[in-house]
C-alpha cells in the first residue's frame, strides 16, 4: 500500500514538495531525508525538546509561529505551513538569542542547544508571550538540559530581553525581529509565499485499505505507537484550516474539540471563565506540547490522569459527537466506561465540548501534583466547580484523576455537597465520602497509599482555594 502523498510547504527559506506518508514524523524527515541534523532526537516523546521546531500558519494575512517538538508532528500537518528548523534561524552573524547563549555559557555538550535556541526565538516571535523573566521560563519549559543547571540559560534569556525587549513593542514582532537582525530577513516574505503556495492536486491523503487512524495532536499516540504510524493510513484532524476560537451561545461556551491547550488558554472567553487557566496550563504541559495537545485528544485518549479532562469533568462539560448514525450529545462524565473504554463507536469523533459559562457565583479550581512540578504527567489531579450563594453550595462538580481506571467524576461526593451550607466539618465529611468512590492502584507514578493520601490533599486544596472565607488552613491541619 502506497501511503505517500505530495506535501507542499515551506521548509526554512525554501518551498518544497515532500513525497511522504502523512504519518511520518517531521523529526525523521528533517534528519534523514533533508539531512538537517541540527534538530536532535533526545527522547522521541516530547519530553526533552531537543527536536523543537517552529511551525508557522497563515492567519489573516500574517504568519503565527508556535514551537512544537518535531517528534510529535506528522508530515501531513505541514501542508501549507512554514516549517522552521534551527538551520532556518541561522544568519551570517549569530542572532541575539544565539549570541546570549554563547556569552552566558548556556551551552556545554550542545546537544540540547538548538532546541533551546528555537524555543527562545519562538517566544520572541509570539506577541502573546510576556517578555519578562517569567516568560523566559515558559519559553524553555519544554527543553531539558543535562549539563548546565539552567542558570546560564535563564541569564541568556534575560540578556536577550535587555537587548531586544524595548524594540519589540510593535504590533508585528516578526518585522521588528527581522529589522534587528534577530531573525533572517526571509521571514518577512513568508506570508506572501505561504498564500501563494499551491496545494498539490491530490492533497487528500491516501487512506484506502481500511479505517484510518485518527490523530489529533498526536502527543500520546505517537508515544504509544510511534513505530507503526508512518506506515498506517491516518486521518489528521489538524491538518487543515485553523481551529476557530471558543464561542458563546445560550449561556454556554462551545469549544472546538481540536483546539490546542495553548489556544484554549489564550482564548479570551476561557480566560474570563477560568481566570487561572494559564497558570494551570503551565503545570499541565510544556509550551511545545500545549501547542499540539488538543482537548478532544485528551478526552479520547482516556488516560486516567488526563489533566484537561479532569478540569472539563469538573466543568460538567457536554460533548457533541459525530460520525455515527447521527450526531449526538452526551455528558463527559458519562463518556468513560472503563480503562480506555469510551461510550462511542470507533467511527465517532468528538466535535465540540461545551460547558455553562461561569458567572459571579461560580468557583472553579484545578490542582495537580506530579513528580516534577513542570513538564511532567500528574500523579493525581483534582478539579471542582461550585455554584454558590454565599457559603451555600447550590451545585458541586468534583473530579479526580490518577485514582481510578478512568478520569473520575465524584458522583456521590457531588450529590452530598449540593444544596448544603459549607462548613469545615462538611468538607471533611465530603473528603471522606470521596474516598469511597475510588480504589487507586500502585504504578510507576506512585503507590496506592500515596495516591489515596494525595487525593485527599488535593480535594482539600480545592476547598481551601475556592472557599478561603469558610475553611482555613488552620482548620484543615487541625482536622488531619
Amino acid at each position: 500500500m502506497n501511503l505517500k502523498s505530495p506535501i507542499r510547504f515551506i521548509l526554512n527559506d525554501q518551498e518544497v514538495t515532500a513525497w511522504e506518508t502523512p504519518g511520518r514524523l517531521v523529526l525523521d524527515y528533517l534528519r534523514d531525508s533533508e539531512r538537517l541534523t541540527g534538530t536532535k532526537e533526545g527522547c522521541k516523546e516530547g519530553d526533552c525538546g531537543a527536536c523543537t521546531v517552529l511551525l508557522g500558519s497563515l492567519d489573516k494575512g500574517r504568519v503565527r509561529y508556535v514551537p512544537m517538538t518535531s517528534c510529535l508532528i506528522p508530515m501531513g500537518e505541514l501542508m501549507g505551513k512554514h516549517l522552521v528548523s534551527i538551520e532556518g534561524l541561522n544568519m551570517e552573524m549569530l542572532s541575539p538569542v544565539q549570541a546570549a547563549l554563547v556569552d552566558c555559557g548556556g551551552t556545554q555538550c550542545g546537544y540540547c542547544t538548538p532546541g533551546f535556541v528555537v524555543s527562545m526565538t519562538g517566544w520572541l516571535m509570539d506577541e502573546t508571550q510576556a517578555l519578562d523573566a517569567g516568560g523566559v521560563k515558559i519559553a524553555i519549559s519544554g527543553n531539558l538540559c543535562r549539563c548546565t543547571g539552567y542558570r546560564s540559560i535563564k541569564e541568556a534569556g534575560e540578556q536577550v530581553l535587555d537587548k531586544l525587549a524595548s524594540g519589540l513593542s510593535g504590533e508585528n514582532r516578526i518585522t521588528d525581529l527581522c529589522q534587528k537582525e534577530a531573525l533572517p530577513a526571509y521571514f518577512e516574505t513568508i506570508p506572501e509565499r505561504l498564500a501563494a503556495l499551491e496545494h498539490p492536486e491530490n492533497s487528500d491523503f491516501n487512506i484506502e485499505g481500511g479505517r484510518p487512524l485518527v490523530i489529533a495532536g498526536g502527543t500520546d499516540i505517537y508515544v504509544q505507537r510511534g513505530a507503526e504510524i508512518p506506515e498506517t493510513p491516518v486521518q489528521l484532524l489538524n491538518s487543515g484550516d485553523a481551529v476557530p476560537p471558543v464561542v458563546e451561545a445560550d449561556g454556554n461556551l462551545i469549544v472546538d474539540a481540536r483546539m490546542s491547550f495553548q489556544a484554549f488558554g489564550d482564548d479570551p472567553l476561557i480566560q474570563e471563565a477560568i481566570p487561572e487557566i494559564q497558570a494551570y496550563n503551565y503545570l499541565i504541559a510544556s509550551w511545545p506540547i500545549r501547542t499540539r495537545a488538543t482537548l478532544g485528544g485528551n478526552i479520547c485518549n482516556a488516560s486516567p490522569i488526563a489533566d484537561m479532562t479532569c478540569l472539563l469533568l469538573a466543568l460538567d462539560a457536554q460533548l457533541s459527537v459525530e460520525g455515527g448514525d447521527e450526531p449526538r450529545h452526551l455528558a463527559l462524565k458519562d463518556f468513560f466506561l472503563g480503562y480506555k473504554q469510551l461510550a462511542k463507536i470507533e467511527e465517532e469523533v468528538i466535535k465540540t465540548i461545551e460547558f455553562g459559562k461561569p458567572d459571579g457565583s461560580t468557583r472553579i479550581h484545578w490542582e495537580k501534583v506530579s513528580k516534577r512540578p513542570v513538564l511532567d504527567i500528574a500523579t493525581v489531579n483534582s478539579a471542582a466547580r461550585f455554584e454558590v450563594d454565599g457559603s451555600f453550595i447550590k451545585e458541586a462538580h468534583l473530579a479526580l484523576g490518577g485514582v481510578a481506571a478512568i478520569p473520575l467524576y465524584l458522583h456521590e461526593t457531588c450529590q452530598f455537597l449540593s444544596n448544603q451550607s459549607l462548613t469545615a466539618e462538611l468538607v471533611m465529611e465530603a473528603v471522606a465520602i470521596a474516598q469511597t468512590e475510588f480504589q487507586p492502584i500502585s504504578d510507576v507514578r506512585g503507590s496506592a497509599d500515596y495516591k489515596r493520601l494525595l487525593a485527599r490533599q488535593l480535594l482539600l486544596a480545592l476547598f481551601l482555594k475556592c472557599f478561603p472565607e469558610v475553611i482555613s488552613e488552620e482548620v484543615v491541619y487541625e482536622a488531619l
Binding site: 541534523t37 526533552c48 493520601l453
Partner: protein, 762 residues
Amino acid sequence: MRHCDSELHVTGRSEYTDDVAPPEGLLHGAVFGSPIAHGKIRNLDTSAANAIEGVRGVFVYDDIPGQKFIGAVIQDEPLFAYDEVMYHEHPIVLIVADTAELARKAAKLCKVEIDPLPITVCPREAYKAGDVLQEVRIFEKGDVESVWDQCDYVLEGKIDLAGQDHTYLETNRARAVPKEDGQVKVYSSTQSPSAGQKTIAAVLGIPMHKVEVDVKRLGGGFGGKEDQATHWACMASLAAVKLQRPVQIVLNRVEDMQMTGKRHPYKQDFKIGLSKEGEILAFDVAHYQNSGAYMDLSAPVLERTVLHATNAYAIPHVKILAAACRTHLPPNTAYRGFGGPQGMFALEAAIYRAATEMGVSPDWIQKKNLIQDGYKFHYGQVLKDCRMQRTWEEAEDAFEFSSVNDRVEAYNQTHRGTKKGFAIMPVCFGISFTKTFLNQGSSLVHIYTDGSVSVSTGGIEMGQGVSSNMIAIVARSFGISPDRVRCNSTNTSRIANISPSAASATSDLNGNATLIACQEILSGLCDVAARELGGKPEDISIENGIVHLSDNLTDLTWEQLVLKSYFSRVQLMAHGFYTPPGLHYDFTKSDNNPFHYYTYGTCLIEVTVDCLRGNYTIDSAKIVHDLGRGIIRSVDLGQVEGGLAQGIGWVTLEDLAYSDDGRLLSFALSTYKAPDADFMPDDLVVKFLENADNPGGPLGSKAVGEPPFMYGIGAYFAIQHAIDAFRPQIPDEIVSPMTPERVLLSLYDVKSVKPAEPSVAL
C-alpha cells in the same frame, strides 16, 4: 574566552556521531534483548527476522570471531548473552538492516525461549546469598569497637540509596566503517576511545593497530559512556567487518535506559558515635553496592566509595565494609562522582540522625569535625594545603550561615502549610584515578607553517569544556590568540593508550601534557627568535602574537617566527606526556597516596515544602568552591552548576523504579524526571576561592567535573529538615530519592486517610 564549540552548538552545526554525512551504503543495527531478567536460554529463533527483505545480517554470540567476553576491569561480560540472560533487555541478537526502522521491526520478530531463574534486585539479598563480584573487603582505621562505650551518643541506621540514569541527551551510538586490509574505523560516542579500540580488536581477533577510534564530541557522558559505549562500538564493528559495509547503531531513549547501567544504588548500614561536644569519635559503615549483573566498573566505583566514606570530616575511628553485590540489573557503571556520592551520603545521613537525637543543627556537628592540614585519612594519605575550612568559612560569611537557622525557624513558626528547611554540604573530593596507572595524559601539538595550531589529546569533549581548556593552554603557552588554535577530535591513531575521560582528571592530565608539548616546541622557537633578534633564548617571550625580547616589543610576529623556524628546520610539532608524581595505591596497605590533590567546597541549600501537597521547591543553592586558578570562568562555572543540578536530581526527582522481576519501570523521559529549568533554583550563587593556585594543575587550576555533584546531597537533608518542622520523625530507613511521594508519606500517616463509613455515603 568561551566554550570553543559554542557557536557551532547554537547554530546546530556541531556534528555528533550520526550527524556526519552517512557513508555510501550505511546499514543500521538494532538490538534484541532478553524479555526477562534471569534465565537459561533454551532456544533462539531469528529466522523470522532474517527473512525480512532489507535485513542484511543477524549476529549472535557464535558470530564473534575473537574474544567473546568484554569488560574494563575483568572480562566477565559476553558481548551477546548466549547461555544465560542476566538482566531484562540483556542483548542477545544484533540485527543489521537497510534502515533503523527495519532493523527494529526485525528485532521484534526474534523469538527466545528462556527457562526462568530466580531474580535478585536487592544487594542485601545478594550479599546474604554470597553472590558478590569480588571478595568482601573491610577497611579500618583505629578501632571503632573500642570507642562506642566512650561516646555520649551512638546512633544506628539503615539507608536505601537510589541509583541514577545518566540521561545524556545524546544516547549511546557508534558508526563503524570497514577499511582496507581488515581494518575498521569507528566513530563512537565514547569516553574511552582506547578501551573501545582494545575491545573491538579483541572481539574481532585483530591487532589494535587495525582499529582506529575517532571521537569528535559527545552529547553528554557523565560516566555513562566510559565503559558502556564499548558494547555498541563492538557490535557495529563486528557487523561492519563481517558485512564489509558501514554499520551504525543508535540506541533510542528507551533502549538506552533499559540496556545500559546506571549510578550504583547502595544499601547501607551505619553506626556513628559522638561526644556531647559534637565530636565524631567513630563511624562504622557497610556499603552493599548494587553492582548489576557483571563487574563493569563496580570494583573501582566501590573503592572510591570507601575512599570518600569520611568525606570532609576528621574521624579517629573508622570501619568500612564494602561489598560488590551481583543483581539481575544491567551492570551498573561510572557516573559523575564514581561512588564518592554514595560514600558521602551515608555519613551525612548519620550526622543528620545524630543531630536530631542531640537536638542540634547538623551544621554544628559538621563544622566541628572538618578536616585540616595534617589529617591522615583511613587510607593513609596525609592532607596538605587543605582548604576545607576555608571554603566553609567563606561560605559562612558570604551566605550568613549564622542567620539561616533563625530565619528558617521564624518562617516555620509563622507558617502552617509550608515549611522551610536548609542543609549545608561540605565536600572534599580526591583527584586522580585510583587505578594509579591510568594517571597519564598525552598531547600532540602541531604548528602549521601559516602559524595556525592544532592540538590533539586523549581528552574527550563531552560538554565539560576540555577542548576549550586545551586551546586556552596552548594559546597562553604560545602567547597567541585562542582563535589561532583548534582542538582536534580524539583519535587513537594520533594518541595511543588513552585513559578514559573520567575522574575529573582529563583537563589536568592532558592539559599538563599539552604544556609539556608546547614547552618543547617553544624552546626551539625561542632559539630561532634569539638568533633572529640577537638576544638570549631565555629573554624571548611571545605576547598577543608578537615576539618580545626582554619584555620589549619587536617587529617579529608569531607567523614570521613560525615560518623562520620551519625554514631553519626546527621542530614545529611535539608530543607531550604527563603523569602526576608520587601516586600509589594498594588497598591492602595503609600508607597510600592515591590522590594528587583534593578539591574542596561548601554548599548551602534552602528549600520550601508544601505540606498540603507534599511537593517542594529548591529555593536557593549557594556555593563556595575551590577551583584553584580557573582556566575559563564560564566553563568552570558551568561544571559547578551542572554538577549541582545532577546531584540535586539524584536525591530528589530521579526515581529509577524497578519491579521485583528486574524490569525498569521508569524507562523513558515521561516517567524518569531529571531537573528542568523550573525545578532548578533561580537563586544559584557560585563563588570561587580567590588566590588559590593549585601547583598540581595546569596553569594553577583544579579538577572541577565531579566534586560539585555532591553539593546536591544537601537537598535531601534540607527537605528532611522541612518535613521535620511539620512532623518530627525518625524514619525506619533513610530512603532516596526524596520524591514528592516520600515527602507526603512522611508528612502524614497514611492511616489518617479514612474513607467514610458506608452508612455515611449516600
